[in-house]
């Protein structure tokens, strides 16, 4: 074949896909800018803070109030104010302080707090410890402590793999769905089918262009979150590339299936939202899917986005190697095979 590489139909089709994409500035923002902005926003909102100070009040009745407040102040995690009995009661009611301590009887101490609030119970434990130590109580058993604040267990570490999963899903479903239905609506698909164009090459051009764009999107998102927040990548590069690739094929298949019959943008939008909504909610993008009832867990686990997110998290945060992720990969491969098979069977070429 003396044909120039650039004049091959597959090369032409793929290059057309890129041109259509890069000449749409909004699309560039949604695939690159949006996930990064979201990661930055969430990273700031849920950044790791120094341990919280617990606010408590000492009710100012009697001469023992001063020494009681001093005893409490010795614990640095307590912020202590001395208030009149009325103000202390008001502060407790409005939640400005978690606990009110006041002298009681000859040498006793009385605590007032809401025992249903975890922070109030916490305040009582700390305050009582400070009071008892001030009165001379010591530790009976020796204690050793180590503080663990490691990258990988923060909220940002949880959410970045979720955002990557969401990007893969959105790219596959929107990237294929809208473009194909738009071409069908404008009779361009019919015009292309009237040429000797290979239908396999036409579909391949979408898959290839999506994979290349996704590689860039994933690199940008992971690079930015590693740089800005130190989100770890504990698994091998080959493993994460494989997970992304298999996920991209599954969502590409789903996108193709959703686009296989629709003749209007409205129609395909409805289908796409219908299929993506359960995954946005259930698949553990922003919070763990373990929070949902046990009875629906098998359904959740069968969703492709759950499989993607679980595999990405296990690999990125815990460095779990590919062979141990076979259940997630199997779910994704099953989606890929089923979606492509059905889509190609029912695809409307006119």
């Amino acid at each position: 074949m003396s044909e120039r590489f650039a004049d091959r139909s597959l090369v032409q089709l793929v290059s057309v896909r890129f041109k259509e994409y890069t000449r749409e500035p909004e699309a560039l923002f949604w695939s690159f800018g949006f996930p990064i902005l979201l990661a930055i926003g969430l990273g700031i909102a849920f950044r790791s803070k120094p341990p919280d100070v617990v606010h408590v009040a000492v009710a100012n009745n009697g001469p023992r109030a001063g020494p009681l407040a001093d005893a409490l102040r010795r614990d640095r995690s307590l912020a202590v104010e001395q208030l009149s009995s009325d103000s202390a009661a008001a502060a407790l009611r409005t939640g400005r302080v978690a606990l009110v301590a006041s002298p009681d009887g000859v040498n006793g101490v009385r605590y007032e707090y809401d025992d249903t609030r975890p922070d109030a119970r916490n305040a009582r434990l700390i305050a009582n410890d400070a009071v008892q130590r001030g009165a001379g109580r010591g530790d009976i058993l020796p204690i050793a402590e180590q503080h663990v604040r490691e990258a990988g267990s923060r909220y940002i570490d949880f959410v970045v793999p979720g955002l990557l999963g969401m990007t893969i899903m959105g790219g596959g479903i929107w990237g294929l769905g809208f473009s194909i239905v738009d071409q069908r609506r404008k009779h361009l698909l019919k015009r292309l089918v009237a040429t000797p164009m290979s239908r396999a090459e036409y579909l391949a051009s979408y898959v290839i262009s999506r994979l290349v764009l996704l590689a860039i999107e994933a690199a940008v998102l992971l690079g930015a979150s590693a740089l800005l927040f130190g989100v770890p990548l504990r698994g091998s590069v080959a493993a994460i590339v494989t997970i992304i690739l298999v996920s991209a094929l599954a969502f590409g298949g789903l996108g193709l299936l959703l686009a296989s019959r629709s003749q209007t943008i409205e129609g395909v939008s409805g289908l796409m939202n219908l299929s993506m909504l359960p995954m946005w909610v259930l698949s553990g993008v922003f919070f763990s899917a373990e929070n949902f009832p046990r009875t629906i867990q098998p359904f959740i686990k069968a969703l492709p986005l759950t499989a993607t997110n679980d595999a990405l998290r296990a690999n990125m945060l815990r460095g779990i190697p590919l062979p141990s992720l076979w259940p997630q990969l199997a779910v994704l491969v099953a989606w890929t095979v089923v979606c492509f098979t059905v889509a190609l069977r029912i695809f409307r070429w006119r």
Partner: protein, 309 residues
């Protein structure tokens, strides 16, 4: 030499609607053949079956001696197609679009040459979305000819265009014809068919109701001219019999609000008509004449106007 296109007993039904109902066509190699008819006559269904985009319910279609059942791949390589109302990708440039279509064919013409032929040289780097209607149609034509096809299908190539753009397209099509290409086009513009086509088939309700050269068809009326007139409101109704008795009138036919007379010679009929009306004190509200066209052939065959706008 084999015919470029052979259609026999073609049928395509959509439920109760008989879009194509036993249609026969033969198009010779090198011919420009027109499929004429009102909207909904079955022209597009017929041409899309010929293009291999629709499967017929019954009938035989042979193109260049090949059939869609056996030689689909080879046929696709040899046809040039322009569909009705295809919107090409708006984000691509003219050149990118033609280059994409060129890439689908094993052989064809150079992209630059095709762009120059359809006079889009100045727009070659312009986005498709920014082209005018006429320019878009010429680009669609460029995509049809880039494969240097043996047989070209053009479905309503000038619908919706301004007169100047139509004329430009006619020139292009005439040019391809001069190069010995076989062309089959559909149109509901009679003037277009008269100018471009060697032969036309008038199609109505999925059947061919007349076939021949434009000259033959017009000649079949037996009348070179058409006189249309209307009387003032309130005038007593005229009878066909009395009008047909006028000098030179071949056919008299009532129209909405008036009459149509098909006549051999205007200079004999018009004075006779005026004298006839003056004799009865009838006032003319309107009087027009024109040379007989394919439109009149259609009206005379079906009793309906081609375009019932």
């Amino acid at each position: 030499m084999t015919d470029a296109l052979l259609v026999r007993e073609l049928r395509k039904y959509y439920g109760d609607v008989r879009a194509v109902d036993g249609l026969d066509l033969t198009v010779a190699s090198g011919e420009c053949f027109g499929l004429l008819g009102p909207n909904g006559a079955g022209k597009t269904t017929t041409i899309e079956i010929c293009e291999g985009l629709l499967a017929p319910d019954a009938g035989r279609v042979e193109l260049l001696g090949l059939t869609w059942q056996h030689d689909a791949r080879a046929l696709r390589q040899r046809l040039g197609i322009q569909l009705q109302e295809t919107q090409l990708a708006e984000k691509l440039t003219v050149e990118e679009t033609v280059r994409l279509f060129r890439s689908f064919y094993d052989k064809g013409r150079p992209v630059d040459e095709v762009i120059r032929l359809v006079q889009l040289g100045e727009k070659r780097d312009g986005r498709v979305g920014k082209l005018s209607g006429g320019q878009k149609q010429r680009l669609a034509l460029a995509c049809a000819i880039v494969s240097d096809p043996d047989l070209m299908f053009l479905d309503e190539p000038t619908t919706g265009l301004d007169p100047q753009s139509r004329r430009q397209l006619w020139d292009l099509i005439t040019d391809f014809k001069a190069h010995g290409r076989t062309i089959m086009l559909t149109t509901h513009y009679m003037d277009e068919a008269e100018i471009l086509c060697d032969r036309v088939a008038i199609v109505d309700h999925g059947k061919v109701i007349a076939l021949g050269t434009p000259r033959e068809l017009i000649g079949s009326l037996g009348a070179e001219h058409v006189v249309e007139f209307a009387l003032d409101n309130g005038a007593p109704p005229l009878e066909e019999r009395t009008l047909r008795a006028l000098d030179g009138v071949r056919v008299a036919r009532p129209l909405a609000g008036g009459w149509e007379l098909q006549v051999g010679e205007l200079h004999r009929t018009v004075p006779a008509l005026l004298a006839f009306l003056a004799e009865r004190n009838l006032e003319l509200a309107q009087l027009t004449t024109h040379s007989a066209t394919l439109e009149d052939v259609f009206v005379s065959l079906t009793g309906r106007q081609l375009r019932d706008e």
